[in-house]
């Protein structure tokens, strides 16, 4: 028994450390000036990269844009996922298979292709190069996850709870707020956070649909990763992670304070 527990604890701690390692590395690299191989620690440190980023005029706008797009994408995804997940879980209907498959497509197809065809459509609706357009394209890539989350949760809950609500005299609206929503709390939170995370990490989609006018942190970050500018990449990565946590906490606070009775 004891040995079992010790092994488990060891493996968990190992896992724990692996999770934190990237954060440590990024935090370190932001200040590195010279780090000659094979030293374990950098030879010299500098603040110059950090300063150049902080002084950049682009930064505040990019940060705000990233958060706005992320929150909008998450909200739109949740709004679409809730009914879709419910339909798939609680009903049998013609075309159910088609929908199930359609949902997974964005995960598989090359983003380049999806973006190209969406781009043309969005142009027709005059949504290209807008924040809303970018949020919509991000939503495509968020839906596979969030629809799944709601679907599984609805299957778990089963249909009885809602039917009970109606039996006890509730109508659609009150049942929704008093029965379903509380049961879905975890799913909504999970979907929101996933939505935010995925949206903040999008590069190619934002670039093409946003046409270069919608500037998110990811757009600034990825070229630096591609071309081995490690210090700048670390700084922008750090900012991106911070944004994720901020957006997530924003949603969590909003939900806790305002949507629970």
């Amino acid at each position: 028994m004891k040995k079992d527990k010790i092994i488990t604890k060891f493996i968990i701690s190992l896992f724990f450390m692996i999770c934190i390692l990237p954060l440590i590395i990024i935090s370190l690299f932001m200040f590195v000036d010279k780090w000659v191989y094979p030293n374990i620690f950098p030879s010299t440190y500098t603040l110059k990269y950090l300063l150049s980023v902080i002084q950049s005029k682009e930064l505040p706008k990019a940060m705000i844009t990233s958060i706005i797009v992320a929150v909008m994408s998450a909200v739109i995804s949740v709004i679409i996922s809730y009914p879709t997940g419910k339909a798939l879980a609680h009903y049998n209907f013609k075309g159910k298979h088609v929908i199930s498959i359609l949902i997974l497509i964005p995960l598989i197809v090359s983003p380049l292709v999806l973006v190209s065809s969406s781009h043309i459509n969005l142009i027709k609706y005059n949504l290209h190069s807008t924040l809303l357009g970018v949020s919509l394209i991000h939503t495509i890539f968020i839906l596979p996850y969030t629809i799944r989350i709601f679907n599984d949760r609805f299957e778990e809950i089963g249909v009885e709870y809602e039917l009970q609500g109606y039996t006890l005299g509730g109508n659609v609206i009150s049942t929704f707020f008093l029965v379903t929503l509380p049961l879905l709390r975890v799913s909504v939170m999970l979907s929101f956070s996933l939505g935010v995370i995925i949206s903040l990490g999008q590069y190619l989609t934002t670039l093409i649909i946003g046409g270069g006018r919608v500037m998110t942190i990811s757009i600034i970050l990825v070229p630096y990763i591609q071309y081995s500018e490690y210090q700048l990449a670390s700084i922008y990565s750090f900012i991106l992670i911070a944004l994720t946590i901020i957006s997530y906490t924003l949603i969590a606070k909003l939900y806790k304070n305002h949507l629970e009775f």
Partner: protein, 296 residues
């Protein structure tokens, strides 16, 4: 029963009403079928307007394409299996052994929060020949020069790629398992243990079947993501071994515009393959559910 209701609501129009947002969204975003058109040689730009299968013919039997299929399957399946096994193990281990889960769960969330591209970047910093691991090993005098350190990124086994996938997905699987387990009724386990079952039996007969749906969900999402993933193989991969998405990208941006049709061919084939796989899975699932229902 723990909510595993197979009962569905009998309603003709309701489901379709519920599906309206999704359908609107799909039409809004993807109304054009130009991808499939292009793969068949039809191209608005150049005024070519006859359907031809020549692009399919030209590419399907080339060594490059076939090798790519094998490599893609390898790079999708291996990390999926590893992530599943480790994630399930961690989920079960933590759920049953650790009392205060909150802080641990917060830490394990970190890889999910860190964006994919940032993770790739970190892996590069850790595993490259002049990276963190290499420096540690060098200082222990195990290797002499940087070039002696084994190639873990840009290598043919895709070690770096697999690591990125695993590191990002194990927490994902872990959370799916943990949230499912937290809704499980402990009654059955306690009863079984009382009646003399060993822990392993409990695991096999009660816990894993309960988790079956979550595991399948996790498998599909993780596999689909790995299959279609582009950034990691592109940034960390070996130029000789391309996954299908990377190959598609290379054709897409080729200086020879005709090559773009090859890209569409690959994409169309990928979609068809996954559609077929999913179809088989859904049919199999239905048959199993029906059998279970009838058993009762």
């Amino acid at each position: 029963m723990g909510g595993r209701s197979i009962k569905k609501i009998e309603s003709k129009y309701r489901p379709y009403i519920l599906l309206i947002p999704f359908i609107i969204f799909i039409i809004l975003m993807l109304g054009s079928t130009s991808m499939i058109e292009q793969s068949l040689g039809y191209n608005n730009q150049e005024g070519i307007s006859s359907i031809t299968f020549k692009y399919y013919e030209e590419i399907i039997f080339t060594k490059v394409f076939l090798e790519s299929i094998v490599y893609t399957i390898y790079i999708s399946v291996v990390p999926t299996l590893i992530s599943l096994i480790v994630g399930i193990y961690m989920g079960i281990a933590v759920h049953f052994n650790i009392k205060r889960k909150n802080r641990l769960n917060n830490i394990i969330q970190i890889p999910i929060i860190i964006p994919y591209t940032v993770y790739i970047f970190c892996i590069i910093l850790i595993l490259m020949q002049t990276g963190i691991v290499s420096r540690s090993v060098m200082n222990l005098n195990i290797i002499d020069t940087a070039n002696d350190f084994p190639l873990l990124i840009y290598d043919k086994f895709g070690v770096g790629i697999i690591m990125v996938y695993v590191l990002k997905q194990v927490p994902f699987v872990y959370f799916i398992i943990i949230s499912s387990l937290s809704n499980m009724d402990r009654k059955y386990i306690d009863v079984a243990l009382n009646l003399g079952s060993s822990k392993i039996q409990v695991l096999r007969e009660i816990v894993l079947p309960y988790l079956r749906n979550s595991i399948m969900t996790a498998f599909f999402i993780v596999f689909a993501f790995n299959f279609g993933s582009f950034e990691a193989p592109f940034l960390l991969g070996n130029p000789k071994y391309n996954t299908l998405p990377v190959l598609s990208y290379k054709y897409f941006i080729s200086s020879d515009i005709d090559k773009r049709s090859y890209s569409m061919v690959i994409n169309t084939i990928m979609i068809i393959a996954v559609v077929i796989l999913l179809h088989i899975y859904i049919k199999y699932n239905e048959r199993k559910n029906r059998r279970n229902y009838e058993k009762r």
